[in-house]
């Protein structure tokens, strides 16, 4: 009698457990059992590192980093590196649980006021600024939550040979000159396009954000935008950027059918000179040079020029951090996580390997960028004033424009091709939406 009853219970429990197990399987994962670190702060045990560089995980670069890290800290048993595809979207969803690794890059959609909810403070901002650059964006109320792994400068990627063959030897100094030069390249004859938008891989259009700040040489350009009802004018940062894009498309200086562009293919095309120019950050230089070499062209042809606007006779380029590494606030092994971040910035050699600027103030400039750095004056964008850290994002979302998303630029290209709206109409619409967004966000 009793055993029978127990068996029933057991079965019910078994069924219930199987459900629980499934639930657990969904949320479990990242943290192992031997995570606990010694409390004295010596790095030990194991950590999980989430990275967006799936390519560097696959080609074994990260294995090498892990080996070196473990050699330095022998008590560390394991560093699990997880390469995450579609990093932004995946990580944002995972951050609704507690299990999002120990070290991870802070997704762009995390607003500053959300930082303390999800990430461990790494130190006082004032203190850390003595050592690191570009930690503004990921700081909140005097605390810093993330350190960039590498810095990018923003300019325009071009094929030197093609530009020179079209008779252009000086960098354009105004958007109009830039368009004229592209026209000259078109007149000379080019296989695909003088300027390739990569419309289909729409993220590439976000790279035009590299113009922000460089146009007016104003490190407060973004902050001042929250105070303006008309940020799209012919001379403003956004106006010059989106206006140049509009004009280039309307004048037929871009590819004929943008809906069929091909990012991987574009690397080869600019290498062999079928494309003359692309709007990309400095991070793209090594990729394009490698593709040029693979296609049998000269990697030296890949050049990097400043944004075609001068203020007081000088070019300006915005420098900023790539993804910032932070520590999961729920991590059980924060000491080791911190050691990884410090080691990664100081000793891994990652920033040089990626042809980027070091996040450290006294870091070295890679050779490929040296000549570019001589032509331009670097700007680092100022942080939002205290209490207004989320204001830009709030207005941006409320307005429905979402400048952080390429969608509105896709629309600009559509309109430039079809002529559905003139540049002025587009600017008016954007300004009206922005003003509405400001009202909604209480700016």
């Amino acid at each position: 009698m009793f055993p029978q009853k127990r068996r029933t219970r057991l079965m019910a429990m078994a069924a219930a457990t199987s459900i629980l197990a499934l639930t657990a399987a969904c949320s479990g994962g990242a943290s192992g059992d031997e995570d606990e670190a010694a409390d004295d702060g010596t790095p030990s045990g194991s950590i999980t590192v989430l990275t967006w560089r799936t390519d560097r995980v696959e080609d074994g670069t990260f294995d090498k980093y892990v080996e070196e890290f473990k050699a330095k800290y022998p008590e560390v048993t394991d560093v699990k590196v997880e390469g995450v595809k579609d990093y932004e979207g995946t990580i944002k969803t995972r951050m609704n649980t507690d299990e999002y690794g120990d070290v991870l890059a802070i997704p762009g959609s995390v607003t500053p006021d959300q930082l303390p909810d999800f990430f461990e403070p790494l130190g006082d901002q004032a203190e850390m600024e003595k050592e690191y650059r570009w930690i503004n964006d990921k700081s909140f109320e005097g605390k810093t939550y993330g350190i960039p792994v590498v810095g990018n400068v923003q300019g325009v990627l071009y094929n030197k040979r093609v530009w020179e063959e079209a008779g252009v030897t000086e960098f354009p100094t105004t958007p109009q000159e830039y368009l004229d030069d592209l026209q000259a390249i078109k007149d000379k004859g080019i296989a695909v396009a003088p300027l390739y938008t990569n419309y289909k891989d729409s993220w590439a259009l976000s790279q035009w954000d590299g113009w922000r700040g460089a146009v007016t040489a104003n490190p407060d350009a973004i902050n001042e935008m929250t105070q303006s009802d008309t940020p799209w004018t012919d001379d403003s940062d956004y106006g010059a950027t989106d206006g140049t894009l509009y004009d280039a498309v309307a004048q037929g200086l871009t590819e004929a059918d943008p809906t069929t562009t091909d990012w991987e293919g574009s690397k080869r095309m600019i290498g062999v000179g079928e494309i003359a120019t692309m709007q990309l950050g400095s991070w793209a230089i090594p990729q394009m040079a490698a593709a040029a070499e693979a296609a049998g062209a000269d990697p030296e042809d890949i050049g990097y020029m400043p944004i075609p606007v001068q203020v007081d006779g000088k070019f300006h380029a915005v420098a900023g951090g790539d993804y910032n590494l932070g520590i999961n606030v729920n991590s059980k092994n924060k000491a080791t996580a911190r050691a990884w971040i410090d080691w990664f910035n100081h000793e891994s050699g990652y920033s040089e390997a990626e042809v980027g600027l070091s996040p450290m103030i006294d870091g070295a400039v890679p050779a490929a960028l040296a000549s570019f750095m001589e032509d331009v004056e670097l700007i680092t964008m100022n942080p939002a004033p205290e209490g207004k850290e989320s204001l830009f994002a709030d207005i941006d979302t409320a307005s429905g424009i979402v400048t952080t998303d390429p969608k509105y630029r896709l629309q600009i290209i559509d309109d430039a091709r079809s002529g559905a709206r003139t540049k002025e109409q587009i600017f008016d619409d954007l300004n009206a939406k922005w003003a509405e967004g400001r009202a909604d966000a209480g700016a």
Binding site: M1, Q4, T8, N96, Q114, D117, T259, D405, L410, S418
Partner: protein, 324 residues
């Protein structure tokens, strides 16, 4: 429950009278026996527990959460979700950008009508005696077996400038017809709807064919004796017989048209005026970070589909088909 218990005890009760079938074990004196019966009757429920548990966990909980999110201003990350009433629903129906996607759905609705016509045509022809019948059936059904993403990629290459379609047109002297199939905003939605038709015609075709083949062949014979030709057979026998299936295909077509996703997402990513309702919902949730509003859009889509289904059942009642 009784069936389970009777099958278990079937051998004991083999000779028992019919009404007693389920009872013998209960008559056995002693606690163990009655426990056993109780436990055995519970068995089917225990087996059900797992699928129902999974259903609750993976379908109903998320849906209930979605209803909750749809009345909040959640951004997908914040620890707090503020209740904002029906604001999201108002926004779904007042933002002109949100309304435009319904216009795009019209292309797919028209496409689904074309698809039904084509499917009916092929199903009727292949229900008669045709050479290589099975091969034709296979060819028509095959596109449905291909993954939607793969189809998107295939057609991306087929429709790109200088791609397959342009080459064919060029070689047949029809180069005046060449367009930018996805690049021209006036043509893009037609191209995408046509790909959708290509993909789903096979499914509709098989549904129609199955229904047509279930028609009793004597009816055709009787009709032939009365001097009916093929057209009469189609109009008076085939179409009335498969009316419920046509109704079903229509509903699937409408609800499918409202929730088109894969093909335009892969081929144009919703750019160039091809954004559909679901693409916009996904964009709203994961790019604009307005999970609340996106949930409201998902709820609206759900209600739309329920409404269409309800309408269809009102307009085309499931009556018994009677051909006599």
């Amino acid at each position: 429950m009784t069936t389970a218990s009777s099958s278990v005890t079937g051998q004991v009760a083999a000779n028992a009278a019919e009404p007693d079938l389920a009872r013998p074990t209960r008559k056995v004196p002693g606690g163990a026996g009655s426990r056993s019966a109780w436990y055995r009757r519970l068995t089917p429920y225990l087996f059900l527990l797992v699928p129902i548990g999974l259903l609750l966990l993976l379908t109903y909980t998320p849906v209930i959460n979605m209803f909750w999110y749809s009345v909040t201003d959640w951004d997908g990350l914040d620890k707090t979700k503020n209740f904002i009433g029906l604001d999201n629903y108002v926004e779904v129906f007042t933002d002109p950008d949100n309304l435009r996607v319904f216009y795009v759905s019209l292309f797919y609705i028209v496409g689904s009508l074309v698809q039904m016509a084509l499917a009916l045509y092929f199903a009727t022809i292949l229900s008669f005696k045709v050479r290589f019948k099975n091969m034709w059936k296979g060819i028509l059904f095959f596109p449905y077996l291909i993954n939607g993403v793969a189809i998107g990629l295939i057609f991306l290459n087929f429709l790109k400038p200088g791609g397959g379609l342009d080459t064919v047109l060029l070689n047949t002297g029809l180069e005046s017809l060449i367009h930018q199939w996805t690049g021209d905003p006036d043509v893009a939605n037609y191209s995408l709807a046509a790909v959708s038709v290509w993909r789903y015609t096979g499914l509709t075709f098989v549904m129609f064919l199955g229904a047509i083949q279930s028609i009793n062949s004597e009816i055709y014979e009787a009709a032939a004796l009365d001097g009916a030709n093929r057209w009469h057979e189609f109009w008076s026998i085939i179409l009335p017989s498969i009316r419920p299936i046509v109704g079903l295909a229509f509903i699937l077509g409408i609800s499918g048209s409202l929730s088109v996703f894969e093909i335009p997402f892969v081929m144009t990513n919703g750019a160039n005026g091809t954004e559909t309702f679901v693409i916009r919902t996904v964009w709203m949730a994961f790019q604009r970070n307005m999970v609340g509003l996106a949930s409201a859009m998902a709820v609206v889509l759900l209600l739309f589909v329920l409404l269409v289904t309800w309408l269809q059942r009102k307009l085309v009642p499931e009556e018994e088909v009677d051909l006599t």
